[in-house]
């Protein structure tokens, strides 16, 4: 890798000394004051990720303090140009982002994209779940898909913003089942709350959201989960995957962090190092459990490659949905 021998040595030494001196002030590349850029308003998933990172890093003694800047709007595409242009070269900054941003960049025809940043690591993922109201006649994905193919307009799908993860999954399911993704009668709600209310009030046929959003309602028996978009069955969740039911679709709503463009290799390395230590800290494990996030840590160059392939994949789906050209 890109590690110089001195860095390895220094890191090793400090790691052993870290119990005594929690702040690594000796290392030139150590980051005391981290700046976290959240391209969303306070309260959402990215904001939670940013604030959780601050907590985990502080309690693991990796940083002294963090400053969080929220710039919300349009799936992160309002904040992204600001991060790329105004935060350029800042070696102590990280932006939270994820799959939603990849979609928003394509759908909004944004001028900047994620390849202009310095990808640091993919951190967490959340699989999606397809649910129906408890009183719905649909018992399995097969029922739902059959009804969709018979008359797409009769099946309304509730979910989050247009072109977001939920919409993307609806399109993928429609396509995998041999239907027309453009015909999906997708009802975009302003958030998970209103979408849940629509489902509990029997106003829509089915709904899609992250497991974290709908899980409790499923456990309480208010909603019936038909399938999850994970690659395999999840421990403690008695819901079959979409694949098991013959729908060849897998989707994780992943979140990760990015550094600004124009930082030095040493700065990039110290950010990689910082995130790596955070991911391995007990505080982070605690947070993952607390929020039901799946650990899908993927650092550095492999993350960069992953973003490239995700961009291609999501572009194709958005095209199918008629949301991108």
């Amino acid at each position: 890798m890109l590690w110089s021998r001195r860095q390895v040595l220094a890191t090793g030494l400090l790691a052993s000394a870290s119990a005594a001196a929690p702040i690594r002030t000796g290392l030139a590349q150590a980051i005391e004051q981290l700046r976290i850029f959240v391209p969303a308003n306070p309260g959402g998933g990215w904001d939670q990720t940013g604030r959780s990172m601050e907590m985990a890093m502080k309690s693991a003694g990796l940083i002294k303090s963090a400053q969080i800047t929220n710039v919300g709007g349009a799936g992160g595409t309002v904040g992204l140009p600001q991060f790329i242009n105004q935060w350029k070269g800042q070696g102590n900054a990280l932006m939270v982002g994820g799959m939603v941003m990849v979609g928003a960049i394509i759908a909004n025809k944004a001028r900047n994209n994620l390849t202009e940043t310095t990808p640091i690591a993919r951190l967490t993922g959340e699989f999606q779940v397809v649910v129906v109201p408890a009183a719905s006649p649909f018992r399995s994905m097969a029922d739902l898909v059959a009804a969709f193919k018979a008359d797409p307009a009769k099946v309304s799908w509730a979910g989050g913003s247009a072109g977001g993860t939920d919409h993307i999954l609806a399109g993928m399911i429609a396509k995998a089942a041999g239907g027309d993704p453009r015909k999906v009668a997708y009802v975009a709600y302003s958030g998970g709350g209103p979408a849940q209310a629509a489902l509990l009030g029997n106003q829509v046929s089915c709904g899609i959201s992250g497991w974290g959003e709908f899980g409790e309602q499923v456990r309480a028996g208010k909603l019936r989960a038909l399938g999850i978009s994970a690659d395999k069955r999840q421990p403690g969740i008695d819901v079959p995957t979409l694949r098991e039911q013959g729908i060849d679709v897998e989707l994780f709503n992943w979140r990760g962090v990015f550094a600004p463009p124009g930082i030095s290799d040493a700065q990039r390395q110290s950010l990689l190092d910082l995130v790596d230590r955070m991911v391995k800290s007990p505080a982070w494990a605690e947070i993952l459990k607390r929020y039901d996030w799946t650990d899908i840590y993927l650092p550095g160059d492999r993350y960069r490659a992953y973003i490239a392939s995700e961009t291609e994949r999501i572009h194709a789906i958005l095209k199918d949905l008629g949301l991108a050209s």
Partner: protein, 149 residues
């Protein structure tokens, strides 16, 4: 004595602007329609509604040529203050929050009628300092730094 024609002028501008908006919006929005309503439907409907109302206002203003209640006053403070605020916002990324805001507060205090140099000075130096400490220290929100920092 220019009041009525001023209102008529405003109504005419509104009418023209809303008609232009209604005309160009369909070309700005490319998305399709679902059940007859697309992204452009509401904006166009509103622009047309404003145009109709503005036409009404125009006819009304031309018919009722009321005498003006008061003669027009000096109008320079509005453009001056607008330019000042634009200059302030433009200066923020260069001069930084503190210096720009010192100039803003000092300038506004003079514009709003403060004549004592000492009072202006104290106000201009203290207010940005308090804001800076409050936002950066307590709220942990960074304000613009000067370009040379």
């Amino acid at each position: 004595m220019k009041r009525p024609s001023e209102e008529a002028g405003l109504a005419a501008i509104l009418l023209a602007a809303s008609l232009v908006l209604a005309a160009i919006t369909p070309f700005q929005v490319t998305g399709g329609e679902i059940w007859g309503i697309g992204s452009a439907t509401l904006p166009i409907a509103l622009a047309v509604a404003i145009a109709l109302l503005a036409a009404w206002l125009l006819v009304d203003a031309l018919r009722n040529q009321r005498p003006a209640e008061e003669p027009r006053q000096r109008s320079w403070p509005i453009p001056v203050m607008t330019l000042g605020l634009v200059a302030y916002i433009a200066a923020l990324p260069w001069l930084g929050f503190y210096l720009s805001t010192v100039l803003l507060v000092g300038g506004l205090a003079r514009l709003f009628g403060e004549g004592r140099i000492l009072a202006i000075l104290v106000l201009a130096l203290a207010v940005p300092a308090v804001l800076l400490v409050f936002f950066e220290r307590f709220m942990i929100i960074l304000l613009p730094a000067a370009a040379w920092n």
